[in-house]
């Protein structure tokens, strides 16, 4: 772990721990959000992590940034931190300078590009309601592009995901592309991995909190004259959750480091795929342990379980990665073991 990573993570954890309370997360349900937390993050230059110092950034790399995404998930922070910083980081990958104004992204499905004009509809775009710019995928003929557009003049249909986070349908009808950069399939793959690494990071954060809340609750809640963690069936839930949480934390940490080192294997895909099961198992067990109090709005648990239920069906889903992995396996000349260890004879000799 880099020094800066530790330092930055500490600052963010402190801000989120003190500023993001149950009521702060609830703001989303009243069509508000934690603008004060956002301001604090900006003041501390945290939106400039993984932007190089030459470009006026705060230094650090993608590993540092992904670690912060984990904290956003861990505290369910209702701010567009991931959206804005990741949108800019995606632009950086294609040598475009990031934007100061609030920017979001959506690169799962392409818009149509005709010369410089954009057409089409993007669904479930995060925070588009508040953002000024969007980084999107576009297609002209068989060529793919990363484009940037102004959201000001776009037609938005605002809604929310299961966790009340802002999601909008954005309609592009002859909108000007402010930027367009052609990308290769390989580049697209690596951008999709970045986006997925961001999702698994925030999901792992939320999952960790769900687990911790459950452990805590099982010590506090008593029935039949003893804390419920003394019942073997509750112990089974706790043990299963511990297994899932550990699996996912180690996987997520691995992915973050690999991306930081510029290595792009299939690890992100494995992690995202496994996260689908983990989020279901942990959310189910946590609600079972909490019983009635856990399904109330007053309790915090749902702020994290609803995020898990929402996030697992957004962006590059497990279904998407399952298909990608199957395709890779079909086309690969390696057998399974060679592919897992990413090493075959040809590689070693080469």
């Amino acid at each position: 772990m880099s020094e800066i990573k530790e330092m930055v993570a500490e600052v963010v954890e402190k801000v989120l721990k003190h500023k993001v309370e149950k009521e702060t997360v609830d703001l989303l349900e009243e069509n508000l959000w934690a603008e004060n937390v956002w301001q604090l993050l900006l003041e501390n230059e945290l939106h400039n992590v993984a932007v190089s110092e030459e470009e006026g950034g705060a230094g650090g790399d993608i590993e540092d940034l992904l670690e912060l995404y984990g904290l956003i998930g861990k505290y369910a922070a209702p701010v567009p931190f991931i959206e804005h910083t990741l949108a800019n980081y995606l632009l950086k990958q294609i040598d475009i300078k990031g934007y100061e104004q609030l920017t979001t992204y959506s690169i799962t499905a392409p818009l149509q590009l005709k010369e410089d004009a954009l057409f089409g509809t993007l669904k479930h775009v995060p925070w588009a309601k508040y953002a000024e710019k969007i980084v999107a995928l576009a297609q002209e003929g068989s060529q793919q592009f990363i484009v940037v557009a102004d959201l000001e003049n776009a037609v938005l249909k605002n809604g929310t995901n299961l966790a009340a986070e802002p999601r909008s349908e954005v309609v592009f009808e002859n909108m000007k592309a402010l930027q367009k950069v052609p990308i290769t399939a390989k580049q697209y793959m690596s951008l999709s991995k970045l986006v997925t690494a961001a999702s698994v990071s925030k999901m792992n954060g939320a999952l960790t909190t769900v687990f911790q809340l459950s452990v805590q609750f099982s010590k506090e809640r008593e029935q039949f004259g003893r804390p419920i963690h003394r019942f073997q069936l509750v112990q089974q839930h706790l043990a299963n959750m511990a297994g899932e949480q550990t699996l996912m934390t180690v996987a997520t940490n691995n992915v973050q480091t690999l991306l930081g080192d510029g290595q792009e294997g299939l690890e992100v895909a494995y992690t995202r795929l496994r996260m689908d099961d983990a989020s279901r198992a942990v959310a189910t067990a946590a609600h079972q342990v909490h019983a009635a109090i856990g399904v109330t709005h007053e309790h915090r648990l749902h702020q994290f379980t609803r995020r898990l239920w929402a996030w697992r069906d957004e962006e590059f889903t497990a279904r998407y990665w399952k298909q990608q992995l199957a395709k890779q396996m079909l086309e690969s000349k390696m057998d399974l073991w060679e592919s897992i260890t990413e090493q075959n004879e040809a590689h070693v000799h080469a």
Binding site: L162, H287, A292, H297, R306
Partner: protein
């Protein structure tokens, strides 16, 4: 364990058709919209009134109270159709399912004459007052208490998680009528408490979606006349157990998310998605076999048999199934769960995911049911 097998008669099939076209008509007219888990979260007193006009509340009860003396299986068919179409029947559900049968078995003549006709007309809804903040699974530890006064009792304490108490007129309430002694199952009684009465305060508890659903109900020196004690004083625990058989074995423990499964299969058919349909058919097979159990229990109940153990079985495996449906469907179809969506499938998926956690908690948690089941099979 074994349960009777049941084949429906021609008349019963006809009755099912009648209920089905009634529900379809009302969906078309816009009386209600299909929702998952509507039997508990869809309280619509106006619709309950319409159902009552059909003679479909308390339909198995004696004619002298306004009932139709129809069979338990007719009622089973009726409730199944409500669930399949996701109809908002929560307002009258508890009264029809358990308060009526409770009063018929243990109630005084006065209670039957007073309550049953009103329930049947859809004018009197009941809530269930069992749980307390510190007494969930350990129900026998309840502390809401009553002290004897002339002509009745003075009740103090609080119940929680009372589903639909906000729309209900009365609550069957489990109350300690003797100080807590060595045996905590003793000294408990069931009172019918007028929820509009003096000293009763109902405050809503929001479900995780933010919707009002269940409630805290506080009793501050509430006077309950002697006529409102159900059955035998001090016998509340045993009487309550009898109710649980009705509560745990019905089709609502299998079909809460059925509208989603139904819509998913429609979509897979439209897409001619063989692989997806093959997977979905596994759910259908499971549904069919669970349904056999639930219907079998209904049959035994009709004949006055003992069903506590199989009822616990139906609830524990049935609710697991209803919980599984959204988890499988989301893998079979590319659906984005969205409560506000115009697409039914997206709405049903969102409703199912958000309501699923409660399935294996309400009416007794699965963990507690496993204990009952295991003890039951060992005792056999």
């Amino acid at each position: 364990m074994n349960l009777p097998k049941v084949q429906f008669t021609e008349e019963q099939k006809q009755f099912r058709q009648e209920v089905r076209s009634f529900l379809k008509q009302h969906i078309e007219k816009g009386t209600f919209e299909t929702r998952c888990d509507s039997w508990l979260s869809g309280s619509n007193p106006d619709f309950s009134k319409i159902v009552a006009e059909q003679g479909w509340i308390g339909m198995t009860w004696p004619k002298q109270y306004g009932g139709k003396e129809r069979s338990t299986l007719d009622r089973y068919i009726l409730t199944e159709e409500f669930l399949a179409f996701g109809a908002p029947v929560a307002a009258h559900w508890f009264a029809d399912r358990q308060t009526g049968p409770l009063l018929l078995r243990f109630g005084t003549e006065y209670q039957k004459e007073f309550f049953l006709p009103k329930i049947i007309k859809g004018e009197c809804f009941f809530a269930i007052g069992l749980s307390e903040p510190n007494s969930g699974s350990d129900l026998a530890s309840v502390t809401t208490r009553a002290e004897k006064v002339e002509g009745g009792w003075i009740v103090n304490g609080a119940k929680t998680w009372s589903s639909n108490a906000q729309d209900s007129h009365y609550m069957v309430t489990l109350i300690r009528t003797e100080p807590l002694g060595e045996k905590k199952h003793e000294g408990l009684s069931q009172f019918i408490i007028d929820l509009k009465g003096e000293g009763v305060t109902i405050t809503p508890i929001r479900y995780l979606t933010g919707e009002p659903h269940f409630n805290d109900v506080f009793f501050d020196n509430v006077f309950v006349p002697d006529e409102m004690v159900v059955g035998t004083l001090g016998n509340g625990w045993k009487q309550g157990l009898a109710e649980l058989a009705f509560e745990r074995s019905g089709p609502e423990r299998i079909l809460s998310t059925f509208p989603l499964l139904n819509e998913a299969i429609e979509q897979l058919k439209k897409k001619r998605d063989y692989a997806g349909l093959e997977e979905a058919m596994k759910l259908v097979a499971e549904l069919w076999s669970l349904r056999n159990l639930s219907i079998g229990v209904a049959k035994v109940l009709e004949e006055g048999g003992e069903v506590n153990i199989p009822a616990a079985l139906v609830k524990s495996i049935g609710t697991k199934f209803e919980q599984k449906i959204p988890e499988i469907v989301r893998l079979l179809l590319d659906v984005y769960p969205d409560l506000q969506s115009e697409k039914e499938i997206e709405r049903y998926l969102a409703e199912s995911i958000l309501h699923a956690p409660g399935f294996t908690i309400r009416g007794g948690t699965s963990e507690v049911l496993y204990g009952i089941l295991a003890k039951g099979v060992i005792a056999q």
